[in-house]
């Protein structure tokens, strides 16, 4: 009976660890619009016997912006707390100029302003929105280009409703993926009911057909910048930390079963 109990318990732990990684995968680096798991930021994610989740994370430099670091820590906390069995979270940022302040603030559930007091003049809503809009633009550019290459005219693209976009039967898997990623951010700009326009500008306006290519050129800039930053961050992180530990490279949901048991 004792043995049976241990086996059940282990399976449970494996499931829970997978759930933890799945939740962490929903947290993005706001600047890069990429999951913190894919970026290699998570160096430890464990569940202890008291259903407390311990997460250690690290960033590419000691100087990385404190506001984004705080956002990621706070988002991790929220994502993990959404799991019904989680009783506590312990999220620890390491090797960072504001590590102590961020770790304390997030542990106590303080707002950004409460965490930093005189060093901040408000919360992060505006900054967060700026980068959600950039993410929207980047995802939109990728999708519009794909829709155009699938044979749709500019005239047709600018007039597509959300329902019509959803109904497109892409021949390749990439199209569906780009559409899904775009729709995750469409609501950042304006209401997105089925008969609303699928593609609007960051200001919420319809896109002028004749200027679609110059509009896309402007968005291309946002994409090039984000991709460059992503590559730079990956490179710096690799130099700074040992990325060949068993954790890295296995950070996607579903890949964690082997390492998950090692913790107990």
């Amino acid at each position: 009976m004792g043995l049976g109990y241990i086996l059940v318990s282990r399976e449970l732990l494996v499931d829970r660890s997978e759930e933890v990684w799945r939740q962490l995968h929903t947290v993005v680096d706001p600047e890069l619009d990429e999951p913190v798991t894919d970026m290699g930021f998570i160096s430890r994610a464990e569940v202890d016997a008291d259903d407390c989740v311990h997460v250690d994370f690290r960033l590419p430099t000691y100087w990385c912006a404190a506001n984004f670091a705080y956002m990621m820590a706070d988002d991790m906390r929220t994502a993990l707390r959404a799991l019904p069995w989680v009783r506590k979270t312990n999220i620890v940022l390491g090797d960072h100029m504001y590590a102590d302040a961020i770790n304390n603030g997030v542990a106590q559930g303080l707002s950004f302003q409460e965490t930093f007091k005189d060093e901040a003049t408000g919360n992060l809503d505006e900054l967060r929105r700026t980068f959600l809009v950039k993410a929207f633009q980047r995802r939109q550019e990728a999708l519009i280009k794909h829709v155009l290459s699938a044979g749709f005219t500019a005239n047709r693209v600018v007039g597509l409703s959300i329902a019509e976009l959803r109904a497109i039967n892409f021949v390749d898997a990439q199209g569906g993926k780009l559409r899904e990623r775009y729709m995750e951010r469409r609501g950042v700009i304006s209401a997105s009911a089925t008969d609303d326009l699928a593609f609007v500008s960051a200001e919420g306006h319809s896109l002028p057909e004749l200027e679609l290519s110059s509009y896309l050129a402007a968005l291309r800039r946002v994409r090039a910048n984000a991709e460059f930053n992503g590559a730079l961050c990956r490179g710096l992180l690799e130099v700074r930390f040992d990325m060949t530990t068993p954790l890295s490279g296995k950070t996607k949901p579903g890949c964690r079963t082997a390492a998950a048991t090692a913790q107990q």
Binding site: A65, E126, A218, N229
Partner: protein, 341 residues
């Protein structure tokens, strides 16, 4: 001097070099160590393996090493010395104008010496700027808006005091304002790398040129937009250029966006020495061609003429360098050819 396969000579002005002391003996606190460590991560992360230096050399190199790396082993013909003070992190400063001046004094025709100011230094700072301008006949300054100073963790060009200093610079004939953006930390809720203040001062100070180092990265998208609006905004290639080795695909996208938005007349080469060295950067840049799909997408090409502008002609214009006269000064060729030649 770089010579192409067909024998054409390209005069190279390195827009961004440092003569720093980041050695442990000079650290004032942990931030001094973290600062040079971060630079070293950029160096090791983006340099070809065979070009990576030992940490000790990176922390502090001597004048001869720098001269050789730039002008003997490297293809630079001239280089601009850009200071970075960091007095809160380093006992003697990281890379002051005075320290850079020791390089300039040894090789006056090789170097252009830039100064610096910090608007938070008030009237003393204005005095210091006058002294520097007079002593070194400054044509340019480098501003590091992210510098920590006591409780302050950076400043903006739109701060009232920044305006005072820019007005003074203009009066003193300092025309070139090199700006290293971010991370300007406080207030913490704002974007530390925001480049909007450059837009503002570029409009207000039409007589000054604003050279934004590493093209506003990590806000290259916003920078391109600003530079399109303002005729006096330039982009320095440091940080972007080393990608030519490790991620040439990303470099292709970045350089073609820069060409598309700000144009070939406003991009300046800079090695950011000692983070990277001119030899490999320029070998790779000269051999580089934009992939066809990038050219198709952006309509841009990277011709030999464009490369010449980026590598030297644009900086020569900003600093009033007569390249032919400079070649003679450097002993490349005699002023008048002998009659029997």
């Amino acid at each position: 001097m770089y010579k192409t396969a067909s024998g054409e000579e390209i005069f190279i002005i390195d827009g961004h070099t440092h003569f720093w002391d980041g050695s442990p003996a000079n650290h004032k606190n942990i931030h001094g160590k973290q600062f040079i460590d971060c630079f070293y991560a950029y160096h090791t992360g983006l340099s070809p393996k065979e070009e990576v230096w030992p940490k000790e050399k990176f922390e502090k190199y001597d004048a001869q090493t720098m001269y050789d790396d730039l002008f003997v082993r490297g293809y630079d013909d001239m280089a601009i010395l850009q200071p970075t003070y960091l007095g809160d992190f380093y006992k003697e400063g990281f890379n002051t104008t005075e320290r850079n001046a020791t390089m300039k004094n040894k090789h006056p025709d090789r170097f252009i010496l830039n100064g610096a100011f910090d608007p938070r230094d008030g009237s003393k700072g204005l005095e210091y700027l006058h002294v520097l301008a007079e002593r070194y006949q400054l044509k340019g300054v480098k501003l590091y808006t992210a510098e920590w100073r006591g409780d302050s963790k950076g400043y903006k060009l739109t701060d009232k005091d920044s305006y005072k200093f820019l007005e003074t610079a203009q009066k003193l004939g300092i025309k070139n304002i090199h700006v290293h953006k971010g991370p300007t930390i406080i207030p913490l809720n704002r974007d530390a790398f925001d480049v909007a203040d450059i837009d503002d001062v570029a409009t207000s100070f039409q007589g000054l040129n604003f050279i934004v180092e590493h093209c506003g990265l990590p806000r290259l998208d916003d920078f391109c937009w600003i530079a399109t609006q303002e005729t006096n905004v330039y982009g320095g290639l440091a940080v972007a250029l080393p990608f030519i080795h490790s991620r040439p695909g990303y470099f292709a996208h970045i350089i073609s966006e820069l060409l598309f938005w700000i144009g070939e007349d406003k991009i300046l080469y800079g090695s950011d020495y000692g983070i990277w060295t001119p030899k490999w950067l320029i070998d790779k840049f000269m051999a580089f061609e934009l992939p066809e799909e990038v050219t198709k997408e952006t309509g841009q090409t990277l011709s030999l003429q464009t490369k010449k502008k980026i590598l030297g002609l644009n900086a020569a214009k900003l600093y009033g360098i007569d390249i032919e006269a400079q070649k003679i000064k450097l002993g490349y060729q005699s002023a008048a050819k002998p009659a029997y030649a």
